[in-house]
C-alpha cells in the first residue's frame, strides 16, 4: 500500500511549492492582461478626450444682427425684380456700408479692414440669396443676421482668452481730445494693473539674468579651456569665445537692470505695449484702450466713441497680449459693444452638416464629403458583398479540392494583407487610366475600395460557411436535397451572421481609408455636393486630411468635429454588426 497524499495543501511539501509557483504564474498572467487592457483603455480615453475637446469649438457659430438698408438703387436699379439680377448686385459693398453705419467713427484704412473682418466673406452672399428669394424686400430697411467671421467666432468662444474684469471703486472722469482720452479715477484703481506690469518686468529680467548666468558659465568654461589648450589656435579660439560670451552676458545683464529700474521707478506710470496684456475701459457705451497708466489715472485711445457721460465704468484686462492673438483690441471693443446691444447671437452649428467644403472655416461643412462617402460606400458594398459571398460559397461548397483552388486560396489570403495604397496605384493605372472611369468619382473610389475589401469578405464568409457542421449538410442530402439546395437553403442561412460581420468590418475599414483615395484624386477641393457616382467627390477621411493642413485656427475645431463624425459612423457600423450577429445567430 503506497503512502496516501493529503488533498489539503499545507506546509512545504513539493506539492505545495508547485502549487504556489503555479498560483504566482497565474497571478502574473492576469496582471499582464489587466495591464495591457488598462494601457489600451488609457490610450483610447486620451484620444477621445483630445478629439472631443477640440471638436467642441465647432459646435456653435456666431451671428451678428445688423440693420440693413436695401436701397433699390444699389440692388435693383432698373426695378426688374429679377432674382438673377438681384443676386449679381454688389452685396459685399452693401455689407461694408452697413458696418460703417454701425461704427461711423472708423476712418483709418487698417481700422476699416479690421471692421470688415468682423463678418464672414460669405455673409454678403447669404444676404443676396435671401433678397433674391424675396424680391419684395427691395427698398426696405430690414435687420439681417450676418455670419460672423472665424476670428470673431473664435473670440466669442473664448479661444483668444477671456476678458478679465478688475474691481474698481472710484468714480471715473474722462476728458476727450479727439481720439485721445485721459482718464482718472478717485481711487488708485489701476494699481493692480500697474503691479501686474511691474511683476511682468521683473519676471522678464529674471529670465534675462538666467540667460546671462548661462553665458557666464560659458565664459568660465572657455577660460578653462584656454588655459588648458596646448596649441595656439585652440587657445585663440577659446579666447574669442570668452570675449563673445562675456559681451553677451553683459548685454543681457544691462537689459535686466534696465527692466528692474523701470519696475522700481517709484509710482510713476508705465507704458503698455503690444507684448503685455491690454487694458480696456468700458464706460458710457464706449471703449477706451489705455496706452499709459499710473496708479489712479491713465491715457488711452478711444476705440468706440462714448455716448455721453457716466460715472459707471468697468476695467478689463485681456488674457493674452495683442501680439499673441489674431483678434485686435479694436475688434474686441466692437464685438463687446455689439454684444452689449444684444446683436450677437451664438447658435448650434447646423451649417457644419448642411454646407459643403469651403476655404473659410466658418462656412465649411462636411455635407459634400459625407455624400461622397455615401456614394463610395454604396459602390463598394454593391460590388464587394455579392462577389465576395458568392465566391466564398463556390469555393467552399462546389469547387473541387485540388492544387489550383489551393493556389487561389493562398492568393486571396495574401491580398488581404496588401497595403491599401497599392490598390490606389491599381485604381489610378487601370481603372482610371485604362478603363477611363472619371477621376475623383465615387465610382472609381468604390471600385478600388471593393477590390480592397473583397479578400476580407471572402475570408470571413468562407470561415462562416466552413463553421456550419457537416451534420446539417448530411441531413439535407439525406432528405434528397441537391448540392445547390443544400448550399442555399441550409448552409447559407446559418452562415449569414458570420458573413455580415465580416462584411461590415470590411466596410468599416474601407470607410476610414485615405491613402488609396488620395491616389485616385479624391482629394480635390470639391464644393458641390455629389449627386451620383460619376460626379467628382471627396470622402470624409480625405476631408479630415485636407482640413488638418489649413492654417486657420478655426479649422482645428472642424477637423476634430469631422473626426468625431467619422468615429460615429464607425461605431454605428460596428454596433450594427454586433446587433445583426446577435439577431441572426441560430443554435444548431
Amino acid at each position: 500500500m503506497s503512502a496516501r497524499t493529503s488533498l489539503i495543501n499545507a506546509g512545504n511539501t513539493p506539492v505545495t511549492l508547485r502549487l504556489k509557483k503555479r498560483r504566482r504564474a497565474e497571478w502574473r498572467l492576469k496582471a499582464y492582461g489587466i495591464f495591457a487592457i488598462t494601457l489600451a483603455m488609457l490610450a483610447l480615453v486620451a484620444l477621445l478626450n483630445s478629439v472631443v475637446r477640440n471638436a467642441a469649438g465647432a459646435l456653435t457659430e456666431s451671428y451678428i444682427e445688423l440693420p440693413v438698408t436695401l436701397a433699390a438703387d444699389d440692388i435693383d436699379p432698373d426695378a426688374t425684380a429679377d432674382p438673377k439680377i438681384i443676386l449679381r448686385a454688389d452685396f459685399g459693398g452693401l455689407t461694408k456700408r452697413t458696418l460703417r453705419a454701425v461704427f461711423p467713427s472708423v476712418k483709418a484704412r487698417k481700422a476699416k479692414r479690421e471692421l470688415y473682418d468682423l463678418l464672414s466673406n460669405g455673409a454678403g452672399f447669404e444676404l443676396a440669396e435671401m433678397v433674391s428669394k424675396n424680391t419684395a424686400l427691395v427698398g426696405q430697411d430690414i435687420t439681417f443676421r450676418f455670419l460672423a467671421s472665424d476670428v470673431a467666432d473664435l473670440y466669442l468662444q473664448g479661444s483668444y482668452g477671456a476678458l478679465i474684469e478688475h474691481t474698481n471703486h472710484g468714480d471715473l472722469t474722462v476728458s476727450l481730445d479727439g481720439d485721445t482720452a485721459t482718464v482718472s479715477s478717485s481711487t488708485p484703481d489701476f494699481q493692480t494693473a500697474l503691479d501686474g506690469l511691474r511683476a511682468e518686468l521683473l519676471q522678464h529680467s529674471a529670465h534675462l539674468r538666467e540667460q546671462a548666468a548661462m553665458q557666464d558659465a560659458g565664459v568660465v568654461e572657455f577660460m578653462r579651456r584656454a588655459e588648458a589648450a596646448t596649441d595656439a589656435e585652440a587657445k585663440a579660439a577659446a579666447q574669442a569665445q570668452v570675449t563673445a560670451r562675456s559681451a553677451a552676458r553683459d548685454a543681457l545683464i544691462a537689459q535686466a537692470l534696465e527692466q528692474e529700474q523701470r519696475a522700481d521707478a517709484g509710482q510713476s506710470g508705465e507704458d503698455l505695449t503690444k507684448s503685455s496684456p491690454s487694458l480696456l475701459i468700458n464706460t458710457a457705451g464706449g471703449w477706451i484702450k489705455l496706452t499709459r497708466i499710473e496708479a489712479d489715472s491713465g491715457v488711452g485711445e478711444v476705440l468706440v466713441p462714448l455716448k455721453g457721460e457716466s460715472s459707471d465704468w468697468s476695467l478689463y484686462t485681456t488674457e493674452l497680449p495683442e501680439d499673441a492673438r489674431k483678434v485686435s483690441d479694436r475688434q474686441i471693443a466692437w464685438i463687446e459693444s455689439l454684444k452689449q446691444a444684444g446683436q450677437v447671437d451664438r447658435v448650434f452649428n447646423w451649417r457644419f452638416f448642411t454646407a459643403s467644403d469651403s476655404r473659410e472655416p466658418e462656412l465649411a461643412g462636411i455635407r459634400g464629403a459625407a455624400m461622397g462617402t455615401f456614394w463610395t460606400m454604396l459602390v463598394t458594398f454593391s460590388l464587394a458583398f455579392p462577389i465576395g459571398v458568392f465566391s466564398a460559397i463556390y469555393l467552399e461548397e462546389f469547387a473541387p479540392k485540388n492544387k489550383f483552388t489551393d493556389f487561389i486560396e493562398v492568393n486571396i489570403n495574401n491580398l488581404a494583407a496588401v497595403p491599401s495604397i497599392i490598390f490606389g496605384l491599381l485604381g489610378l493605372a487601370v481603372i482610371i487610366g485604362f478603363f477611363g472611369v472619371p477621376r475623383s468619382a465615387p465610382l472609381a473610389g468604390g471600385i478600388v475600395m471593393a477590390l480592397m475589401t473583397l479578400p476580407t469578405i471572402i475570408i470571413a464568409s468562407r470561415a462562416a460557411i466552413a463553421a456550419v457542421p457537416p451534420s446539417i449538410r448530411d441531413a439535407a442530402l439525406g432528405v434528397g436535397a441537391s448540392r445547390m439546395q443544400t448550399a442555399f437553403h441550409h448552409v447559407l442561412p446559418l452562415s449569414v451572421p458570420g458573413m455580415l460581420t465580416g462584411s461590415i468590418l470590411g466596410m468599416a475599414r474601407a470607410l476610414g481609408e485615405t491613402a488609396p483615395l488620395i491616389m485616385i484624386g479624391m482629394v480635390a477641393f470639391i464644393v458641390d455636393v455629389p449627386s451620383g457616382i460619376t460626379d467628382s467627390a471627396t470622402v470624409l477621411p480625405v476631408q479630415v486630411y485636407r482640413w488638418s493642413d489649413f492654417p486657420e485656427r478655426a479649422f482645428e475645431a472642424r477637423t476634430a468635429a469631422a473626426i468625431c463624425v467619422l468615429m460615429g459612423f464607425l461605431i454605428a457600423m460596428n454596433a450594427l454588426a454586433i446587433f445583426l450577429r446577435r439577431k441572426f445567430e441560430r443554435r444548431w
Binding site: 451534420s471 441531413a475 432528405v479 434528397g480
Partner: protein, 265 residues
C-alpha cells in the same frame, strides 16, 4: 412465439428490396468493403452488426449513394433497388435519396421550425400542391413517428428545442415525410438515453409495417431486440447473414459466435 407476426396482421416479407452483388468499396487505396452479397427484404428490419471499422456504415451509405459526396470513395459491383441499378448514370442521386431515407447517429434537425423540418423534403420534391396537402403530410409523418402528440402545439418552435429522443424522432419523421420505400438508420440510438432508445426501437417496430428498415448498430442487444434479419460484418467482409433468432441462439460461423458472445473486439 413468432416474431414475424404482429398483433393484427401478418406481413409478407418475402420481397427483396435491395439486392447487392459483389460490392467492393475503396477509400483511395484502402479496400474497405470486400465482396459483399446481401439481399435486403421488404417490410423487414435488417440489422448490420460488427466491430468498429468493419464497414457497416460504409455499406449503408452505399445504399443511398451518400458516398458520392466523398471524393476518394469508389464503389464497384452491383446494387439494385427493386431491380434497378442505383449506380446507373441515368439515376439522379437526389431522386434516389427521396426513395431511400436516412437517419443519422446524432440527431440533426434543421435549425428551422418543427413544421419546416418535416415539410422541407416534400416541398423540394414537389409532393404537395397546396398548403393543406403539406399540412396533411406533416401531420401524418409526425403521427407515424410517434411525435404528433408532443409536437402538435409547438409546430412553429425550432426543432432544436426538443429533447434528444424527440429530436431523433423528428429526424425520423423528416425522413419518412418523403414517402420513402426504405429507411436507412445509422446507429440512430447511440446518442440517446435508454428510455428514448426504447421509444425509438418501438417506433422502428411499428415502421416496418410500411417500410424496409436497415439499421446499423453497435449494440448487439439492440439488433437482437429490433431486427428480423441480421448481417454480421467483419473487416469489410459479410461473414454471416440470416434470421435474427438463429444468429443469436445458434450462429453458423464461429466468428459470429465469437463476436456476439463478446470473445473478440
Amino acid at each position: 412465439m413468432n416474431d414475424m407476426k404482429l398483433a393484427e396482421k401478418t406481413v409478407d416479407q418475402t420481397d427483396i428490396k435491395f439486392s447487392a452483388k459483389d460490392v467492393q468499396v475503396y477509400y483511395g487505396d484502402n479496400h474497405a468493403i470486400k465482396d459483399v452479397n446481401v439481399d435486403i427484404l421488404d417490410k423487414t428490419v435488417t440489422a448490420f452488426i460488427g466491430p468498429s471499422g468493419c464497414g457497416k456504415s460504409t455499406f449503408l451509405r452505399c445504399l443511398n449513394r451518400m458516398n458520392d459526396t466523398i471524393d476518394i470513395c469508389r464503389v464497384e459491383g452491383n446494387i439494385t433497388l427493386d431491380g434497378e441499378d442505383i449506380y446507373d448514370p441515368r439515376v439522379d442521386p437526389v431522386q434516389l435519396r427521396a426513395k431511400v431515407g436516412m437517419v443519422f447517429q446524432k440527431p440533426n434537425p434543421f435549425p428551422k421550425s418543427i413544421y419546416d423540418n418535416v415539410a422541407y423534403g416534400p416541398r423540394i420534391h414537389g409532393l404537395a400542391n397546396t398548403k393543406a396537402d403539406l399540412d396533411e403530410i406533416v401531420e401524418q409523418s409526425l403521427r407515424n413517428a410517434a411525435l404528433w402528440g408532443e409536437a402538435k402545439d409547438r409546430l412553429q418552435e425550432p426543432g432544436t428545442s426538443l429533447s434528444g429522443g424527440q429530436q431523433q424522432r423528428l429526424c425520423i419523421a423528416r425522413a419518412i415525410a418523403t414517402k420513402p420505400e426504405v429507411l436507412l438508420m445509422d446507429e440512430p440510438c447511440s446518442a440517446l438515453d435508454p428510455i428514448a432508445t426504447a421509444q425509438v426501437e418501438e417506433l422502428i417496430d411499428e415502421l416496418r409495417q410500411d417500410f424496409s428498415v436497415v439499421i446499423v448498430t453497435h449494440s448487439m442487444q439492440q439488433a437482437a431486440r429490433v431486427s428480423q434479419r441480421t448481417a454480421f460484418f467483419h473487416l469489410g467482409n459479410l461473414v454471416e447473414y440470416g434470421d435474427t433468432p438463429t444468429i443469436f441462439t445458434n450462429p453458423e460461423d464461429p466468428r459470429t459466435e465469437s463476436y456476439i458472445t463478446g470473445r473478440i473486439g
